[in-house]
Amino acid sequence: MEKNTKLMLGNEAVARGLFEAGCGFVSSYPGTPSTEITEFAAKYDEIYAEWAPNEKVSAEAAHGAAVAGVRAFCGMKHVGLNVAADLFFTAAYTGVNAGFVAAVADDPGMHSSQNEQDSRHYARAAKLPMLEPADSAECKSYTVAAFELSEQFDTPVLLRLTTRIAHSQSVTPLDERKNIPKPEYVKDPAKYVMMPANARGRHDIVEDRLLNLKEYSETCSLNYTEYNTARIGIISSGIAYQYAREIFGKSVSYLKLGMVWPLPDKLLLEFASKVERVIVVEELDDIIESYCRSLGIKCEGKNLLPLTGEYSQEILAERLKGRKYEFKGVNEPVPPRPPVLCPGCPHRGIFYVLRKLKLFVSGDIGCYTLGALPPLLAMDTTLCMGASVSGLHGKVKAIPQEASSSIAVIGDSTFIHSGLTGLAGIAYNRSNANILILDNSITGMTGHQHNPTTGYTLKGEETRIIELESLCRALGIDSVSVVDPYDIAQCESVIKAELAKDCPSVIIARRPCVLLKSVKKENPYKTDPAHCKGCKACMAAGCPALSFGDKKAAIDSVLCTGCGICARLCKFGAITKKDQL
């Protein structure tokens, strides 16, 4: 009989790999496109899985579990590795005990990210091995292989995914969970206490280990060649390999790299010597290509293919084969359909008020970043998680007279992730910054994950709630208030009052995300054409349930959740709740 197989997302397959590898501890912070790994891992009773407050905490917890003797994992998006990087650079020195694997998911094309960084640089910089699967079956088998490698070489191992790998489903064979004997923890300060005297010795070990890993990479089954012709040889890895395969099939030879750091010198040189033309096909940076050059290999790559954006077989066909796509069809522009705040989103009212007050808005990352888009247009900056709070602090210290016309907005999950430390800095340095915490009681953007403010764990168990009011007070902020973001009049008056004060403040705009199952939808609103003057005041809310035609506003009663923001904007009483007319 054939092996049991399943169509699985790359992320689900990584989780299956965790299960099969006998992994016992998973701690992650959500981030598209990595989130589902941890959500799927949480479905296995055999695995303890949790959401950490941020990536650094998750990586440190996973490393701690591994040193204690349990196979451990953390998953994050590419920018999460910036946050967690501190741990990895030194965990390379301490090594592990039981296996420690970290998945990092890059987002070429920036489907859901603020930048397009290439995580492979981290493997090189931190001197850690990195594996890169090219489909779901490899997601699973490489995860298992990563744990073995981690223990064999006593090192953390990075598993690099990209959006197309993480969020594509392909056929994955299933195996049983391995029974891994738990290694003993042996006290060994020279290995685990990284102070200068000890770390110096460990650095030598890191360099030796890297050479051993390179030797391993020359012959391991993760890297393989397929010789079809001597004319063109393609060196590739991950999803880029699939695109090359799609357009070239068996008409070229391949060196497919499953281990993308360290790279196998001899294998690369041997492959290059057997083909007339070497083309490196890699998304984002020219890491393999420049490495090949350093070995003296004459190769092409970024002279033909872009450094930016996501690849596809179309881009490869165009750039490498000169194939041109011919368009036949309707030649007319189609308006873009950008993502929008959902009907009933509690963030909407706040951004309406911020725009009305013409404030400088130091923004952050989450659903509420959509408040930057038309018609709300109420955000000036967005960089990385937490930067709203600390960035505003810098601004108001530098230009104190602008403190009363500036505000920061940050979501509940983002605040716990890295807003806290910025707020401590504000109190400590006696800054006059005003912070709005948009508390929708969930991590919305990444698809509804619990966090320390929601009262539930990843496994759905009840837990204690970190109360934001007391937290902010404890951090040294005396002026803390709570508003209902549906009540725009209240929001406006509280924001104005806080901005007028000569001290830092936190305003918590609290209302749960309307998409939460626990939130009851109100009756929808409707417009009364007899009273509607066609002034479009309601349209300023930017609600997808509203439309304007025949000089009158209309409400889609299926989409409307009855939040009433538009009714509050109507001066003519033309918008009323359905049961009221």
């Binding site: 594509s168 489903q169 392909s170 695109y243 189609v334 308006p335 359909r337 959902c342 997808p544």
Partner: protein, 193 residues
């Protein structure tokens, strides 16, 4: 058989993801190698979303590029127009006649394209329309329009061995019991349009 490429396009929240998973798993049950590529995250908040389903003897790339789709299933007219360049010359476009205004249209910065179906038909594209939302309403389940669209697809992939029976079995496996009856009715209704 050459491999088949099916694109499912629509607006975030319309149930395109589930449709892709059902078609992908039905193809798997029919014995094919399958890849399904999805969009999660930001654009799901009411943005333009696309799911790719490919099946055949062996599939490499999970994505579908311009001029490569055998079939496009469009859940919304403007999305049908937006993605129509992805269709092969002899490809088939199955589109729901539903129209959903994107934010630039709501704010008045842009206009919803007019007479989309007529214009697409005039270019010689093979096109079938259905009132998926109407079918969903008729069976009493607003969310059943994605299954109605799979119903409209059924006759076109039957020759690949993805039979109606495989499709209904897959739908049964993927939908919660309490919504199954209405969804299967929507599936049937869409076939005998």
């Amino acid at each position: 058989m050459n491999s088949k490429s099916i694109m499912i396009v629509g607006v975030g929240g319309q149930g395109t993801l589930l449709a892709g998973r059902i078609i992908g798993n039905a193809a798997l049950a029919a014995g094919y190698d399958v890849k399904v590529s999805e969009v999660h995250g930001m654009s799901q908040r009411g943005g333009s979303v696309v799911t790719y389903v490919k099946y055949g003897e062996s599939i490499s790339s999970p994505v579908i590029c311009r001029g490569e789709a055998d079939i496009i299933l469009a859940f919304e007219q403007m999305e049908a127009l937006r993605w129509s360049p992805y269709l092969k010359n002899d490809g088939l476009l199955i589109t729901s006649n539903q129209m959903i205004n994107p934010m630039p249209v709501i704010t008045g910065a842009a206009h919803y394209n007019e007479n989309i179906i007529e214009k697409l038909t005039a270019t010689g594209i093979r096109i079938e329309t259905l009132d998926a939302a109407g079918i969903a309403q008729a069976v009493g389940n607003d969310k059943a329009s994605n299954i109605a669209i799979i119903g409209a697809l059924a006759g076109h992939i039957e020759n690949d061995g993805i039979t109606r029976e495989i499709l209904t079995d897959t739908i049964t496996a993927y939908l919660p019991q309490k919504h199954l009856k209405t969804n299967l009715e929507a599936f049937e209704m869409a076939q005998c349009r």
